[in-house]
Subunit: 204 residues, 2 copies
Amino acid sequence: MSALVESAVYRSVSAVVQKDESAAQEVFKNEARINQIEIEVDEFCVNLLALQQPMAADLRLIVAALKINTDLERMGDLANNIARRAISLIKEPVVKPMIDIPHIAALVQSMVRKSLDAFVTRDPDLARSVLASDDAVDNLRRASSHELMSFMESDPKNIRQAMDLLSVVRHLERIADHATNIAEDVLFLVKGVDVRHHAEVAER
Amino acid sequence: MSALVESAVYRSVSAVVQKDESAAQEVFKNEARINQIEIEVDEFCVNLLALQQPMAADLRLIVAALKINTDLERMGDLANNIARRAISLIKEPVVKPMIDIPHIAALVQSMVRKSLDAFVTRDPDLARSVLASDDAVDNLRRASSHELMSFMESDPKNIRQAMDLLSVVRHLERIADHATNIAEDVLFLVKGVDVRHHAEVAER
């Protein structure tokens, strides 16, 4: 599930940045598979809870897996949305170099990778490094929204292209939010504490 | 939790539609409380799983509650985002009557109400009626995005206001998506079947 979603995010970004339509098609092709695995993982977790009646750390692992599963499926959806915007952007002549998008995308991809590695290796420090990146993504997103807004205001002909780019940036930010959720679940899993909305998160 | 979130959605919409700044302030004030209850509900569910080792229907109820809890918290966040846009819109002179927004908002609010009622009364027909509304919201959102895009193209001075309105519509659509998730969880809870990505959903 993680591998499929990580590769969907990677391909959707390639589709936008390298105008690679075949990468977008790969994303569309794998969506049904991701949706199917989400259901299988959920069923597997519920069966484990029912049949094994796990305690303590095992119970936390299964609850974390249930939540991470949902986040992964949503990230897959967002990759799909980015791939759809890529198709629209490929058709248009480039009037705006995408200075920020490769930068934001690289940061978001590294958050996705780290949050999943943190889950697999149960590494709280790696999870915490994901929380630390979330604010950087928000700031980059805000700067790029302002830039794209001025680009629209400079010439209404730019509006449709700018809206596609804004949408890509917004979807990337939401993927980063899901990576942050996963990192929070890893901290809950490893340390048994809930860091959501808490001081530890505020330290980011 | 449901009552707080439902009222946050309601107030955020009032803040936009009636330019009611005090309604927006109420939304901001309740956000911390919603975040706190999310953590309490999660802890309560995990404790129930650990201490009661529930089976069958009880187990499904707790898993559904864990998922619905996450959706509710996200809806609270989105209401907060809408309230922030309301503050920005209140400051601007209205150049565009918000024909569509009250309409979309009414539909989304009824989806939220029905999905939560369906959970409380375990009513599969009510849950299914929420799934049926999701496509209507998507279509309204698409129509209103096109209209707002033309409004921007007609005069670049409209861009900032149109971006605020677009953002409100997008957040409303995401609230509808969470209501749909809740309705799907109710069907899983009541019937023990997973309708996500399945034929039943495609019937919408």
